[in-house]
Symmetry: C2
Subunit: 422 residues, 2 copies
């Protein structure tokens, strides 16, 4: 199995000028990830133009394929959301020849990412030292729940465990209510994006040093980074940052709330905020809601005073918002230079024509499910714009990749398959 | 003002091998950011080793310095959390000579980042085309609330507006309650991290093309990326993803909840989860809570059945957890291979000895406030480890930077200052 004779980066300068090939065109990722915290990292790299080769167990594939599927045997939507633009090959890592195939992939790879349960990848023989020995240029990434030198290093983690232990749940919910888990999966995708930052920085660094490195992330610790501002609240109040309902985490302003709008549905609300830095927001708002009479009223002149009197503020703002639908409230206030945002649900967002035109939602063709609409990649780069394509079926690219990348013949591939090595 | 005679990247190979200098050593960022969505991007770049020159208005500086401060005239904790490891210089962009200083900085810069209100940077004369004309190698980044070709392009945005319009608020809260804003600032810091990904990818790409590019991000759209999995829930249920309380967003499993623990304080809870992919989690849990009698009970054999009977599940798990404190619950279950995580608050996290030893919390020395503990950078890289230092006072580095980078004499700097140009 010869190494892939890829041209060196310096020879690819002209190709790089094609935005459709992406910023990471020419970078190969060996992807051993599963579920979300790892797969969201490698999907990001694919959307930046990297070639991501997802290496999966041959019979069922990565666990996310089956998890939460509505149709047994058909890849879940969950999987499809996290594995677009990847290639899928199979390798049985409990078979000597399956491991040999992975070794060859590693020799021709630039990045290796895994997020198995603690200890698994090392037991499979692909810990950092082993992979580095095969390819010292590789950027090797491990995502776990907790730091590798903490009492919790062997514990399993999922998004919600990271959100609990990283502080996100403690600061979400109503002040007098129980803690609530944020809906967005910042423990999983939030960590995957941090991992992508590490990979990209290491690839840049490698241009100067010629060497790869070992990158480690703990989901708990990445969640802490998203809660950064709550430590300002802790300093301000002298105790742990409290739950603030819909208030800003600093709790020093009003309005800073969702207000009920016409319709009365579960998401018929509009968030209205007035910046701490711009007192005009409040006066503009008073004019729109027909309460110019309160301009200059000392109960409301500063954010602090309005916060003290927020129950009065909330009542009078709501008295106006309930007569208008949420989009009209957002438009009326936005046009007047007041920060306002309708509480949009997933159906409204995925149906939004502007977001679809911009590729924030894209419809891909899946070989089994057909048309599938999914969120795309939100970072718009003038010289890197990779079209989004559907997640691969299990092993869809085994023949192509093992032939092109490893130089295996059809017969060799068939033999490996017969032995259940791939 | 001559350009900075920095060595070309190829000459810096040996320096790059010092991990303390960081992966981005040699990269210069011209930082026009304010508040959080932009500052979190450039802080991330600084923690990867970039030289970040924060260019501020000369009298009050960036607005985040004063916002929410507890001591008027002293930089806020909020600012300190978002501007560590940066240099601060002043330039009056309404003064011709102040703009000339910024032009010279741009000529020697690699990255330019701004997140002013829509239209401001263009009115100041530093829109993309102007900056590109000065330096075609520059990576130019703009962070706004909404896409630049949408009806909301001119609207102001803050974290909560992005969380409302990006769907995060609609999927957070109890099923029968109102929408709740997640505490973590995924609209702000969550967008800043996406911006950092764009910068890093563009810097890598520039190694091959020699050219910079234009990167644009909308906070609304980055929030959508964190809510990716809720679109699987939408497919599953056939309507907008609902609020699920503490359940996983897919709502297909039990236990998947926070359970009350001994103490009864506002955060005395432990999250307990059983993976969809591993039925052993449930049986292990039954043994620990002393309910082996229910192993095999058809009401609880699958995640789906347990979800249907989750009120019974929750009651019997809580009957056990309430007798133990949250750390004991986490340890007991974690040791047994069951995913569990205590709901930790900011005080518990910032006091955790392991997280402090690992640099997830660091204490920096601020010239006015003295010792200040803050979250550090969670991506641990074996060849890039930048010590964290306190945010600069306004203009702390004006003389050093304008002398070293622009070659200005003390007299020239004093003259610019006297003219209120810097």
């Amino acid at each position: 199995m010869p190494n892939d004779p890829r041209p060196e980066p310096a020879h690819r300068a002209s190709e790089q000028r094609d935005p459709a090939k992406g910023a990471l065109h020419g970078v190969r990722v060996i992807d051993l990830t599963q579920f979300e915290a790892g797969t969201s990292c490698t999907e990001t790299l694919a959307w930046l133009g990297a070639e991501v080769i997802k290496v999966e167990e041959p019979t069922k594939g990565e666990q996310g394929r089956g998890a939460s599927t509505d149709k047994p045997g058909v890849d879940s939507h969950y999987f499809m959301l996290l594995n677009a633009n990847k290639l899928s090959v199979t390798a049985n890592l409990k078979h000597e020849k399956g491991r040999a195939v992975l070794c060859e992939l590693i020799k021709g790879g630039d990045v290796f990412v895994e997020n198995f349960a603690p200890g698994v990848i090392e037991r499979l023989g692909f810990g950092y030292d082993a992979v580095k020995a095969l390819n010292p240029r590789i950027v090797y990434v491990q995502v776990k729940g907790f730091g590798s030198d903490t009492p919790y290093k062997d514990y399993l983690a999922f998004d919600m465990i990271a959100q609990a232990t990283g502080g996100a749940i403690s600061i979400t919910g109503d002040p007098d209510g129980r803690p609530i888990k944020p809906g967005p999966t910042i423990g999983d995708t939030g960590t995957g994006l941090h991992a992508a930052i590490g990979v990209l920085a290491a690839l840049y660094q490698r241009q100067f040093t010629g060497e790869g490195q070992h990158i480690r992330l703990a989901m708990q610790e990445c969640v802490i980074n998203y809660g950064r501002i709550s430590y300002a609240a802790q300093y301000l109040w002298g105790h742990a940052a409290p739950r603030m309902g819909n208030q800003s985490i600093m709790g020093t302003n009003s309005p800073s709330e969702i207000y009920p709008c016409k319709g009365g549905g579960p998401n018929d609300y509009c968030y209205i905020y007035t910046s701490r830095a711009n007192p005009q927001h409040w006066e503009r708002l008073l004019k729109i809601i027909g309460r110019e009479d309160l301009i200059g009223d000392p109960r409301f002149t500063s954010p602090q005073e309005r916060f003290k009197n927020r129950h009065i503020v909330d009542e009078m703002v709501a008295a106006w918002t309930t007569h208008h639908d949420k989009m009209a409230v957002m438009k009326r206030l936005g046009d007047a230079g007041i920060p306002a945002g309708a509480v949009l649900d997933t159906m409204e967002l995925s149906g939004d024509p502007d977001l679809n035109r911009r590729g924030i939602f894209v419809t891909v063709k899946h070989p089994v499910r057909g048309d599938f609409k999914m969120p795309g990649w939100p970072v718009k780069m003038s010289a890197s714009n990779v079209p989004i394509i559907a997640a691969p079926l299990l092993g869809a690219d085994t023949e192509e990749v093992y032939s092109r990348v490893l130089g295996l013949s059809k017969e060799e591939i068939a033999a490996l398959r017969a032995e259940k090595a791939i």
